[in-house]
């Protein structure tokens, strides 16, 4: 591995540390503000309620929006640094860019896609909630659409991104 590649790997690890730290920060913050940890059983009991009672889902969306936002920003910092290598030397850039085609990075890119899709669609939902003055019930229903669309988009996109790994092209 060359020095720029090692630096990229170090940056990539830092991105993952930032994401993990953000999950801890956001969950601890939610606990401090709303009180109590959520046991898996409690969460499940909440999710199987009727849709109209699922306002709880909005709070989870709020937390997921924060985590996905910080995750995207952490990757953006790394991405801007690696693209700026192109101006210094296209050959150096290609060395680092080759890492994006590795299986580990492809799996990361699927995660990035899921974060981007959820953050973008949920963000548009929040704009709609404000502009169209949606009720809590309607907002929760739109959240269902957001989650399903993000999942479907992630699965479909991941199939494309991971195809070279499966067929042995990467």
């Amino acid at each position: 591995m060359t020095a720029p590649q090692l630096l990229f790997v170090a940056g990539f690890l830092a991105v993952n540390v930032v994401v993990a730290a953000t999950v801890v920060l956001v969950l601890r913050g939610a606990r401090a503000v709303d009180g109590g940890a959520w046991s898996a059983g409690g969460v499940l009991a909440r999710l199987v309620r009727l849709p109209v009672e699922r306002a709880e889902a909005n709070r989870w969306a709020h937390l997921a929006h924060r985590v996905s936002g910080v995750a995207i920003l952490a990757f953006l910092v790394l991405h801007l640094l690696d693209v700026s290598l192109y101006a210094l030397s296209p050959a150096r850039f290609d060395e680092v860019h080759a890492l994006y085609g590795t299986p580990v990075m492809r799996v990361f890119e699927c995660g990035l896609l899921s974060a981007l899709l959820f953050h973008a669609l949920n963000g548009l939902r929040l704009v709609a909630v404000d502009l169209l003055d949606l009720s809590a019930r309607a907002a929760t229903r739109v959240l269902g659409v957001v989650v399903v669309a993000s999942l479907l988009g992630t699965v479909a996109g991941s199939a494309v991104i991971l195809a070279p790994v499966v067929t042995g092209g990467a």
Binding site: F93, L112, A120, I161
Partner: protein
């Protein structure tokens, strides 16, 4: 972790500016960033998007404008969004100011880096 005290709230005008920045750049980014990801990972395989791909793309003014708009919108969105998080998770006013200032400085530095890369590469496609 202390709760947010109303007396120490950020001035209303600044919060409104942040709110608007997040919403406007967010709608832009839903198109620009998702379009960028789709182009570089779905329409093209990521392995094909090396320096040759960049050189071809930045030879077109449309893509330079796309990337410039995306760079500016993403960093404005990031700075305004992170300021919201800092105000929620750092309750000491001095600590808030330090974090918001540090994140703003990082975003300005990244904008300069990105804009310099884009300008240099678009003007000198060698």
């Amino acid at each position: 972790m202390a709760l947010i005290s109303p007396a120490r709230r950020t001035p209303r005008l600044r919060r409104r500016a942040g709110y608007l920045t997040i919403r406007v750049t967010g709608v832009l980014l839903a198109v620009l960033a998702l379009g960028h990801f789709a182009l570089t990972h779905l329409f093209h395989d990521v392995a094909e998007t090396g320096s040759v791909f960049i050189a071809e793309r930045w030879a077109s003014a449309l893509w330079v404008a796309w990337d410039a708009a995306m760079l500016g919108a993403a960093l404005l969105h990031a700075a305004a969004g992170m300021a919201v998080l800092v105000r929620d998770y750092r309750t000491e006013p001095r600590s808030q100011a330090r974090w918001v200032g540090g994140i703003a400085a990082l975003c300005v530095a990244l904008f300069i880096l990105g804009a310099a890369t884009l300008t240099y590469s678009a003007l000198d496609p060698s």
